[in-house]
């Protein structure tokens, strides 16, 4: 196992997620270490994106805790939680760029809100972020004028605007062709290497899982809890759980004898 010596960055304890009385997942327990690329995986509809919404502060847990560097995220004051959220960068499934603003304005907004940079400095940082994701020169384009893959990358540029400690990705490769998806994966790895941020990715793309994941949690929609966790490559070799195995090997689940 690599990196057990690194400090725990995010810890989820006994987390139960529910919409009203409808429980989505219960008793989730896992730790994410600094510098991990942590994969949240599982079949469609098992609550991966919902788990992400709980971790980034969009939905309060029905029960349980989320800790960031030992601080209980959901029990601190709203102000403090907002300050913690500012250390997150989030890439939403559809990019979620503000459609009434240009790419430059999208990326500039967090900078204008939370830094004292002058307008010309902001412009420089914006250009830098856009060039990091390969979109140099697209400053004055509106989100509706660029392709889906470009929108994702622009969303990533915005997520990185404030040099976050933790980057969250909600299905980064959904809707991308294999090559664009691969490029995005490379970009994610590159960012982790160069910025040293912790990365949390919701995905069910096997190629991505094995290419970038260093730690993971596997959510199961039938038992409504996590049934595995750890380095995905090790999981592939050591896990004996038929659901995990069939997911990771893309096999049809073994026939249940009726």
């Amino acid at each position: 196992m690599s990196g057990l010596d690194r400090e725990v960055h995010i810890e989820v304890q006994d987390l139960t997620m529910a919409y009203g009385s409808f429980v989505i997942q219960r008793d989730l327990n896992f730790k994410v270490r600094r510098g991990d690329v942590f994969i949240i995986m599982g079949g469609s509809g098992c609550g991966k994106s919902t788990l992400l919404r709980h971790m980034v502060g969009l939905k309060e847990p029905a029960r349980g805790k989320v800790y960031y560097e030992g601080v209980d995220f959901w029990s601190v004051e709203v102000k403090e939680r907002e300050a913690m959220m500012r250390r997150f960068g989030i890439l939403y499934q559809s990019g979620a760029l503000w459609s009434s603003m240009t790419l430059a304005e999208n990326i500039a907004l967090p900078l204008e809100e939370y830094t004292d940079l002058s307008p010309s400095e902001v412009r420089e940082v914006v250009s830098l972020k856009l060039s990091l994701v390969g979109l140099a020169g697209f400053e004055e384009f509106y989100p509706s004028e660029i392709s889906g893959g470009m929108r994702k990358r622009a969303g990533l540029a915005r997520a990185m605007a404030l040099d976050p400690d933790i980057l969250f990705f909600d299905e980064p490769s959904a809707g991308l062709d294999p090559i664009s998806a691969r490029r995005l994966d490379d970009l994610i790895l590159e960012l982790r290497e160069s910025l040293g941020s912790t990365i949390v990715v919701v995905t069910h793309e096997l190629a991505s899982i094995f290419a970038i994941g260093t730690n993971s949690v596997f959510l199961d929609s039938e038992t409504k809890t996590m049934i595995a966790g750890g380095d995905p490559r090790e999981l592939l070799e050591t896990s004996h759980d038929p659901k995990v195995r069939s997911f990771l090997t893309r096999d049809a689940p073994e026939e249940r004898s009726d």
Partner: protein
């Protein structure tokens, strides 16, 4: 031994014959072309056959005369297999076309998820009333908390701590102000015209045509100017606010603001509210003028009053307080329209039909709020003697 009970003779029409093959076996001979366009034959006949004769333990199929088939055959077979399972009769699938056999295996491979199926339309009247009441109550608390949050945002604005983009505000002001002028002009002139016309017919009976100017002036300044601009803006701008915020909700744009620690109330609701509260009184003032102009058209054109006469009479009739009463009302209406538009937008679900619903409900909420507030304000004015 064959028993051919009925005469379905047309070979191309989808159908089946039932026959006995030994004592315990029912033979279903499928014939004709089974296409979905022809409809799906009923399994009732087979059900009756199985029910009437408890000796039947097996159902077998013969497809010699089957010409072509699609989902209609599959639907029929799946229903039949279910029937057989219920009656504890073995269905031997060997006689079926290979493709149909495979598709049936596929369709029955994953058992129905327990608890997933929702009861459709079986809700009782009482439970619907209960659900409706709970919905109204929780909607009420949502509305109240939204109003409270907006008020707090307004306080932050006064302390200079609210965060939104100035250029958004400028754009919104332009949209709520100058761009609404054409429609406001048209409606107000016509309303003034109508007021004057209705008044003229009555007042002419007494030879008091000149008082049309008073009627139109006071009516527009105190009531109609504010009311009509508010209703126009509820339909025009309130709906637009709801649709804008609703679409942002659908695209996760509001989530993106929240996770950046930017309050959507500050960033989106506040500029819209400021724009409307600033612009609606101005529009109202303009509407008053246009309404009086409309009245003057009737007065001069139909009642043989001179322009100067009409102007002087109007000036004498309207006090400054009448204007102020109307302008204050329109300020209140501005808040209400912005609140209802933004509230419905923020409450919007995550689908395209939810956006439409949000826009509709923003207009309805807006107009109801305007009329109720107008009634309340009129009573208050009356009590205060304004």
């Amino acid at each position: 031994m064959f028993m051919d009970p009925t005469g379905r003779t047309n070979a191309s029409e989808a159908g089946f014959h039932l026959a006995r093959n030994g004592a315990g076996t029912l033979l279903v001979r499928l014939a004709g072309s089974w296409t979905i366009a022809e409809g799906i034959p009923s399994t009732a006949e087979i059900a009756r056959e199985i029910e009437s004769d408890p000796r039947i333990r097996r159902v077998i199929f013969d497809t010699e005369n089957l010409q072509s088939w699609d989902s209609s055959l599959l639907t029929f077979l799946v229903k039949l297999l279910e029937l057989c399972r219920g009656a504890d009769v073995e269905a031997v699938r060997d006689g079926l076309p290979a493709g149909a056999r495979r598709l049936i295996t596929l369709a029955t491979a994953v058992p129905e998820e327990k608890g997933a199926r929702r009861a459709a339309g079986t809700e009782t009247f009482l439970s619907r009333i209960g659900a409706g009441t709970i919905g109204i109550l929780s909607g009420g608390t949502e509305t109240l908390s939204f109003i409270g949050e907006s008020f707090l945002a307004f306080l932050r604005l006064l302390r200079g701590k609210a965060r939104f983009r100035r250029c958004d505000l400028t754009l919104l002001i332009q949209d709520c102000g100058a761009q609404a002028l054409p429609i406001v002009s048209l409606i107000s002139v016509l309303v003034g015209l109508i007021l004057a016309f209705v008044g003229a017919i009555q007042l002419r009976l007494f030879g008091a045509q000149i008082y049309v100017a008073d009627l139109v002036g006071i009516g527009m300044a105190r009531e109609m100017g504010a009311m009509m601009t508010a209703i126009i803006m509820a339909g025009r701008t309130g709906a637009a606010f709801a649709a804008q915020l609703g679409t942002m909700q659908v695209n996760e744009e509001i989530d993106a603001l929240r996770t950046l620690g930017i309050s959507p109330i500050d960033f989106l609701v506040l500029p819209r509210m400021i724009a409307l509260v600033l612009m609606l009184p101005l529009l109202c003032l303009y509407a008053n003028l246009m309404g009086i102009l409309g009245g003057a058209m009737v007065g001069v054109g139909m009642l043989d009053l001179s322009v100067v006469q009409y102007f002087n009479e109007t000036r004498d009739a309207i006090r400054l307080t009448d204007f102020m009463a109307g302008l204050f009302k329109s300020g209140v209406f501005g808040i209400l329209i912005a609140l209802s538009g933004c509230l419905r937008g923020m409450q919007c679900g995550r689908s395209s039909s939810a956006v439409g619903l949000a826009a509709t409900s923003a207009v309805v909420t807006g107009i109801v709020a305007i009329v109720v507030a107008d009634a309340v304000l009129t009573v208050i004015y009356d009590l205060l003697g304004i």
